[in-house]
Every structure is written in structure tokens, then in C-alpha cells.
Symmetry: C2
Subunit: 337 residues, 2 copies
Amino acid sequence: MSYELFVEVTRNGTVESRHFGAAVVCDFKGSVVKSWGDIESLVFPRSALKPMLAIHLVESGASDRFALNDAELSLACSSHQGEQMHQDLVASWLNRLGLTEDHLACGAVLPENTERAHQLLAAGQQGCRLHHNCSGKHTGFLTTALHLNMPLDKYHLLEHPLQQVSLDILSDLAVIDLRQYPIGIDGCGLPAPTMPLLQLGRAVARFANPEDLSDCRAQAIYRLHEAITNEPLYIAGHGSVVSELNEVTKGSVLAKTGAEGVLIAALPEQGLGIALKIADGSNRARSVALLAILDYLGMLSDEEKQQLQAHIVPTLVNSRGLAVGEIRPAASWLKKA
Amino acid sequence: MSYELFVEVTRNGTVESRHFGAAVVCDFKGSVVKSWGDIESLVFPRSALKPMLAIHLVESGASDRFALNDAELSLACSSHQGEQMHQDLVASWLNRLGLTEDHLACGAVLPENTERAHQLLAAGQQGCRLHHNCSGKHTGFLTTALHLNMPLDKYHLLEHPLQQVSLDILSDLAVIDLRQYPIGIDGCGLPAPTMPLLQLGRAVARFANPEDLSDCRAQAIYRLHEAITNEPLYIAGHGSVVSELNEVTKGSVLAKTGAEGVLIAALPEQGLGIALKIADGSNRARSVALLAILDYLGMLSDEEKQQLQAHIVPTLVNSRGLAVGEIRPAASWLKKA
């Protein structure tokens, strides 16, 4: 178990905190292009799997049957922030299926978007299941279950046929049998598989360029690339690094977060997959680390870097509105030889 | 720069995230009783300094002059959670000084206590300066400034005589000249000194048993011990590890948090000081680490451990209300030889 120092948090120029991590860049043939830290260590990819979990929704024909548009497919892959636009689209999609919020297995929570959460509270409301960052994924599962005449009840449990197919698809992408590894329970109640970080990188690379997968699976993945690229705000939300990376690079970098410091990025044009884990589970460090790796690989133009500057080296502002520090790639990391 | 694996976060029994740290246990003569990781590494103690910053309030005579009670002195040492009781006491104390919230240099924020924050929002209100976790400390500074006829304006700046005296007192406790080390700006606008972790441990030990300090300074520290012990809820708040440790141990363990993963504990009966830093700045790991060290040192009885169980190995519950993991001391750490 070894990690490298990835990210430093400074206060007035002095390092205050340090984030360690492991990361891998793979190509779609399975080769490791570059790695940092121990990439054999087991990770829970959590929500980083959502775009791969949405493959079944498309390849089963459920997406066509219910005429899902780009925004809905992007939302099926999302950890959305519970903004009004996300809540409305989950609600209307469920309604089209003849279902309601009560069919969702995820719990009721306040939106992750703070402004929206405060708005709700000020209006005397509470968080509901629609606001859960996973509600799009859950609606996707319900759509597939309806299409395949599977029981809608307990669709979140490991033994439900939907989750068994999900394990098959993920195993196909990761080129390992996920049933051989521990499986936990996620924040929203769904199974939370584990795999070595290396295998996650390989799966992301095969999602980036699926030409070695079955034709039907590859076509489903291309459809998801298109949907996410066309509707970047539905896969995360305003101000998020995932939506902005997607938008700024016009789909050349399709990133997805996972809880506890996981971040992946599929690079379709290069057929590359990047997977990283911040050891401590921190969210503030993962995006700084990913952008540093993308820059190291030469994947971002000067113009793109300028547009993403707030995510590349975020500024820390105190309660008086004064800039007192920053989050930056560690000075010792990613030195080009 | 080296850290040890202190704390693991598990999901259904498998480790998901890892927190690394450094820690030291010192006695009040300056000897290191035990240490983990590199204790020469520089830390920003942040709010962990508050009890030491309150010494001047007492030794200057300001506390007697304005008849501060135990609750107010405890609040002067606090990172409070902005509960109604904290807000009310800061307000009445300021009022007694003939001052208002506008004199506080800290910014307006929502309370750290989520329930209280949501209550305010639901009532159509916003956070104010009274809710800032540092408002008690700031009111303490204003009290001392009034007593010593110092300007109330800009009392938060490093060049203000109050902050210069603070640096002198902290240097006396840490047995080093803090002016030789970098000084940043804190979340509330006050100076944020740095020191090696070892020196922080020594300062905490001298706060625990101040018999080697001047008599006047020692008496002030004993007064603060008494106030914090008598009013544990004013130094933090309901459900916090600091207030509960203090209460459960009846003042045998006087702990104080600092932002970015810092936690200290003064053990007056043993004349020991503990200082620890979680490298990544995480708050969830620091209390688990401190309680593990206290247990390792044999400082907690079985009954105390039972009462503190929720802080010793916190359970992680998902949005469906299901226990899905825990935060625990790393299995590899603190093996007794």
C-alpha cells in the first residue's frame, strides 16, 4: 500500500495539509501508460461507475423504448447536485414511466448544491429522494427494469437480476470477475463493488474506446459519450469540475467523480482511461490531481487551462472574503524529466 | 516529512479510505513521552491555540474587571457550533461591554451545528458574525482591548498590540520564538502562527501543568481549566468530541480542535500534552486518532470508553439509514509491544 504526495493545501504560501493518492493512465488495450503509487490497491469506485452502469439502459433497448433524450441519458450517468433542473428532469422522466419518487430506492437528502439546499429550507421544504445525487441512476435502473419486465421492488439489492447484469457488464469492461472481490453497499443502497485501481483504469479506457467490446455494447457506449457531451450540466451541475471539463473540452475529457476521493476520466480520442484515488477520500484534492495529470499528458490547451483555472489551483477564501491560501499540485509531483 | 497510517474508513469491512498523521505526547518538562511520524514538521495549530490565547484575557485582569463567568471564559476558548446558547451568550457579553456584533472582526457565517443552521434558514434568517465558531475568542480579545485601553479597531491584525502579546504568550508556552516561523491568516481574520508539531505538544503540556511558568500566568491557566471543566458545552457544543471528552472525564482531558485536522489534549493531572495533525486536514479522523492515543496511554476507563463509543469508532450510515461502514484506528497502528 503506497501513495504519492499529490496535492498540497497552502496558507499564505506555507503548506498546511497534504493529500496522498494513487493514479493510473491506461490505454484501451490494457497497457499502463503511466502510474503513481500502488495501483494494485483495492478501491471502491462508487459513482465513478455510473456511466458504465448506464450501458445496460441503452443496450437493452430501454432507452429507445422510452425515447430517452440526451439530458436524461446524461442524468442516468450523473452525480447531480440536486439543482432545480435535475429535480425537474428526474420527476418528469419518472412521470413518463408511470412511476413516482417513492419507487426510488435512494434516501431523501438535501441537494448537494448549497444554494439550492438553502433555497428549499428557506421555502419551508426538505430534501427528497429526487434531490439525491443518484436519483438519475436509479431512474435509469427503473427504466431498464420496466422494459425487461423485471420486478421494480428491491431493484437495489445485489441479488436482483439488474444488479447481476451490472456486475457482468462491469466485469467485461474491467477484464476481471468482480464477484471475486468484496462488494459493499453504497450511500444510495446499491451494491458498491471493489476492484484494483489498475482495473478501474482499464475499464475507463475501454469505455473511452470500446472497439474491443461487442458491437452492441460499443454502440451503447458511443451513445452515452454523445449524450454526456451534449448535456454536460446534467451529469453533475453548475460550477462542478466534471461538467466544466466536459463542456470546455467539448467531450474530449469525460470525467466522473466517485465518493471518497475517486475521479476517472475517459479520453475517447486517445482511447485512454485515467483513474485516481485520493487515499483520505477528500473531494477537494481529486479534481486538482486530475487536472494536473491531464496537463502532464498534454491534454489541455492554454485556452482550456485558462477556462478551468478555478479548478486547477482553487483559491481558499476566509470568512472576511480574503484569499488566504490555495489547493495546488504538490511541488514534488509530476516533474517532467 | 513522514506520516503514519492512523485511521481507516471501512465499507462493509473493506478499507475504503486512509488517513495519515503525526502525533506527539510530551510532558510539561519538555520530554517526548511518545511520538508517531515526523514531529518536526510545521503545523498551523489554528483554533487549537484558543485556550492559550485566552490566557491574556485572564492575566491582564480583564476577566475580573468585566466579571466573566465560567461559561464566558469557556466560550473565549471555544470553537463553538453556533447553537442558540452560544449565540445568546456572545450577544449578552458584547452587550455588557457596550459593544455589538459589528465590532467582531470575524465574518458572517451559518452555524456549524447543522440543525441550528437549518432552523435559521427555515425562519428566513441568515448566518451572522455571532454564529462564527470564533466569535467567543473575538469577544475575549475585545474585552482585553477595552480593559487595556487599546484600540478596538483592527484588533485582528498582526501589528495590533493584542496580537503581539499573544505571540509572546504562545512563544513562552511553546519555548520557541514564534516570530521566527511563518504566520498566515486564519479563517476569522486573526494571525495563524505555525510551529513544529513537537513545540505544539510542549505548549499543550505546559498548559496542562503550568508550574514552570510565571505565577500570574499559571494562575490564569488554572482559572481556564476550571471554567472549561465547569462549562464543557461552551467550548464546542452538543455531540462534539471536545465537549463530551471534557464532560465524561470531568476535566481530566481538556481537548481542543484546530481546523485542518489538528487536535490537542491537555491532561492536567499527568502534566501531559498531546498534539496531533491529520496530514490531509480531515476532521473525521482526528478525534478517532486522539481517542486511540488516550486509550493507548491508559487514560480512559472502561466506563468512559463506553460513554465515548460513538466517537471511538463512529458508524457510517447511508441515505437509507443503513450502517455501511465505520471510522476506526488503523489495524497496524498502536500495537502494544
